[in-house]
Symmetry: C3
Subunit: 130 residues, 3 copies
């Protein structure tokens, strides 16, 4: 069965580490070998994997994404968040991670991040074994 | 077994809602709990999830992607569609969605879109239970 | 069980075709129908599917990504590779591919590429049946 968790963002753009929540799901679901889907049921948020060592990488990633997908004068959507919808599709709302012998398999410097692009908001993340 | 469906695009860039086709696959395959892979077997198309309420979001997403990945004078590929190949890799040709108690789990504002970046063309989308 | 393979990149940015390695994994694991997760345990690399026919597409994709995610003066991360971290999140480190009757299902022009954004380096790719 799928599991939902809550994430509360505090800024318009924010990367929130959810790696421990994924590990908790793997333990609760008793998964030994396979893969896990991490899914974000929002259209102005996303999920990515990136560096967990130097917090400046999170700063730089948000900076780069704001330059890649700025607010554009030609946008028609009146909510003023089309830049966030674009970032959501660029980064993606769905991710697959691998479990081996009960352990989440990530590289040394990798963590899983919920990506807020139109916060602050109360958000949901869904996990499901594939 | 995998299922193939046909999608016919009418413009060079177009987002086509395929959510109902994913739901039909879930019903036909009798999937109760798990995940579904949605795969696009083309290199100038992609699949994404984004807002289904205001059609202006589709307009803005295509506008933003054309600004992010324009045709560049330095491109070598002689077919003139390297911008579309780039968009395909940025958005991605593979997506995982969650099924719970036989229902496709999407957020309130989410739909699944086939993304045409070099149409109009006859295209294929493939579904497979993970 | 998950399988790890090694990939050795020779340039800072490079797309390396790993399709035959995915096919070998499918044969070794004896997978008939289902999906395979391809996972990159690095934060300055990624995995994508794109054209295998004209090598100019690889050239153009790297050219476009360097324009989309250049080195920025405002980056704080002192390793000088925040452009590569950004490319990793844009393209993604996780991919799902479909297997049908023991065959990897790809479009005519599609191959699976390991994407190096901060090489040359010795890298790892991980495969797991979903």
């Amino acid at each position: 069965m799928a599991k939902k968790i809550s994430v509360h963002s505090k800024k318009r753009e924010e990367l929130i580490n959810i790696t421990s929540e994924v590990k908790t799901f793997i333990n609760e679901a008793g998964i030994s070998n396979g893969t896990i889907a991490v899914f974000i049921p929002h259209t102005t948020a996303a999920v990515t994997i990136n560096e967990n060592a130097d917090p400046d990488v999170k700063h730089d990633l948000i900076l780069a994404l704001n330059r890649i997908s700025p607010d554009l004068p030609a946008f028609k959507h009146t909510e003023g968040n089309s830049d966030a919808h674009t970032k959501s599709s660029l980064i993606g709302c769905s991710l697959n991670v691998i479990v081996n012998n009960g352990d989440l398999i990530l590289g040394t410097w990798q963590s899983i991040y919920f990506c807020e692009f139109d916060g602050p908001r109360h958000r949901t993340v869904i996990f499901q074994a594939n």
